[in-house]
């Protein structure tokens, strides 16, 4: 509890994840929709970190391995996401190059960085302002899906560029790795429990600000 703000959890009440109804957590299941009630999502930090690490591990192969393999008159050309972006840049298509740069390279990294930062704040290792936290959480929720664009491009190119025998285009292993990155970062963001951030803020407010030794717990 902090100031005049009362949290649902302080009164043993939990808002249902599915329908939003606030019920006593001791009912175990939501009386309206039957979903399981939790004061906080269970093991949310552990789950978020695990999913995020898996996404980070896939991020590297997704950019090294080819997403598209073009065979033109017997010559095999491997295309990576970065290579495709550079081709656009060199041909002067700067807006499209920037879109690919943002969606495929920047957003997954930003999401992983933002989620790490949120996890650090939720475990009390950092103390940022609540407004900043809210903005970062909102951005990670909003942006994640846009990275999927490259997968759709691969699908479209593979199906449209089957021009008889002289050009074939096949998806490469990088595309699968990249799809994994996008899905895993989305799942990590869903797993994260933003209410932990506020719990931590309230704990900090209650604890005397001057002590520097580890607090007894």
């Amino acid at each position: 509890m902090s100031g005049h703000f009362v949290k649902a959890a302080d009164r043993g009440l939990a808002a249902c994840h599915s329908c939003g109804k606030v019920s006593p957590v001791k009912l175990e299941d939501c009386p309206r929709c039957g979903s399981r009630l939790h004061l906080r999502k269970p093991a949310s930090i552990e789950g978020t970190v695990a999913l995020m690490l898996a996404a980070a591990a896939l991020y590297i192969p997704s950019h090294i391995l080819p997403v598209l393999r073009t065979t033109e008159l017997g010559v095999v050309i491997d295309n990576t996401i970065v290579g495709g972006m550079l081709t656009f840049w060199q041909s002067g298509a700067y807006p499209i190059a920037l879109v690919i740069f943002a969606a495929s390279i920047l957003i997954p990294l930003l999401k992983i960085a933002a989620l790490s930062w949120l996890c650090l704040a939720a475990t009390g290792k950092m103390h940022p302002s609540p407004e900043k936290l809210g903005r970062v959480y909102w951005i990670t929720e909003l942006l994640g899906r846009w990275s999927m664009i490259d997968i759709f491009v691969v699908g479209i190119l593979v199906s449209v560029l089957q021009l008889g025998n002289y050009v074939t285009v096949k998806p490469g292993p990088g595309a699968l790795a990249f799809a994994g990155v996008v899905v895993l970062t989305m799942l990590a963001a869903m797993r994260f429990e933003p209410r932990l951030l506020w719990d931590r803020l309230d704990e900090d407010a209650e604890a005397p600000a001057t002590t520097h030794e580890s607090s007894p717990s």
């Binding site: 703000f5 656009f88 699908g155 699968l176 799809a179």
Partner: protein, 221 residues
């Protein structure tokens, strides 16, 4: 009174309250507890601590959600029949539909990618729009469809996985990539899916989650 009349009448009221004592709603972001107060139409209730929107009262919510979902379903059907991309190269004309793109991926040894394309651009929009009609249309007459709670739960679960707008941007990028080697153009399917995107946004924003569930609760009681 005619049997069933009061039920229909209640369904036409803006956001009826389920029976019971004081009701609470908690901010999904910071968990601050608020006493539930009725809102005027077109107003939103914000958290007193963090400012996040807790619930909002949309005018004509059931009709709006149903109409937008119906339009989205019709446009989806149109978008599946007509190609979203046409290409003329080397005296050959190719037309690409969404199902064609997904099956090409499955044929080219990328079944997981093909299935994700099917899931994110074909299945989730149908679940969202179809589910919305299934839940909201009977609610307009004060009835809850069998399994409406189950449907509503899966609708909110599938919402983040609806990627129609991402797919459309992917079509634009592919078009620019292909423009170097062939004559390419948008097909009717592209414009249909652009319509799907707008209608889905309208349907999802048309009714608040709390209102939908409150109406379900009232219809069941």
């Amino acid at each position: 009174m005619i049997k069933g009349f009061s039920r229909t009448w209640r369904a036409m009221l803006p956001w009826p309250r389920p029976r019971g004592g004081t009701r609470y709603s908690a901010c999904h972001f910071c968990d601050t507890l608020h006493e539930f107060a009725p809102l005027e139409e077109d107003m939103a209730a914000r958290c007193t601590r963090c400012g996040a929107v807790i619930y909002q009262n949309r005018p004509a919510s059931l009709a709006r959600a149903t109409a937008f979902s119906l339009a989205a379903l019709l446009l989806m059907a149109l978008g599946h029949v007509f190609p979203f991309l046409t290409m003329d190269a080397a005296a050959m004309r190719r037309e690409l539909t969404l199902a064609g793109a997904a099956t090409a991926l499955i044929d080219e040894n990328a079944p997981i990618l093909g299935l994700s394309v099917i899931l994110f651009t074909m299945v989730t929009p149908v679940v969202l729009a179809g589910g919305m009609i299934y839940v909201c249309l009977p609610l307009m007459f004060g009835r809850a469809a069998p399994g409406a709670e189950f449907t509503a739960k899966w609708m909110s679960r599938s919402e983040p996985w609806n990627m129609v707008e991402v797919f459309l941007l992917g079509v634009i990028v592919s078009l620019l990539k292909l423009a170097k080697v062939a004559e390419v153009g948008f097909g009717i399917g592209f414009w249909s899916f652009a319509g799907v995107m707008l209608c889905m946004a309208g349907a999802v924003a048309g009714i608040d989650r709390d209102e939908l569930w409150d109406r379900l609760e009232v219809a069941r009681s």
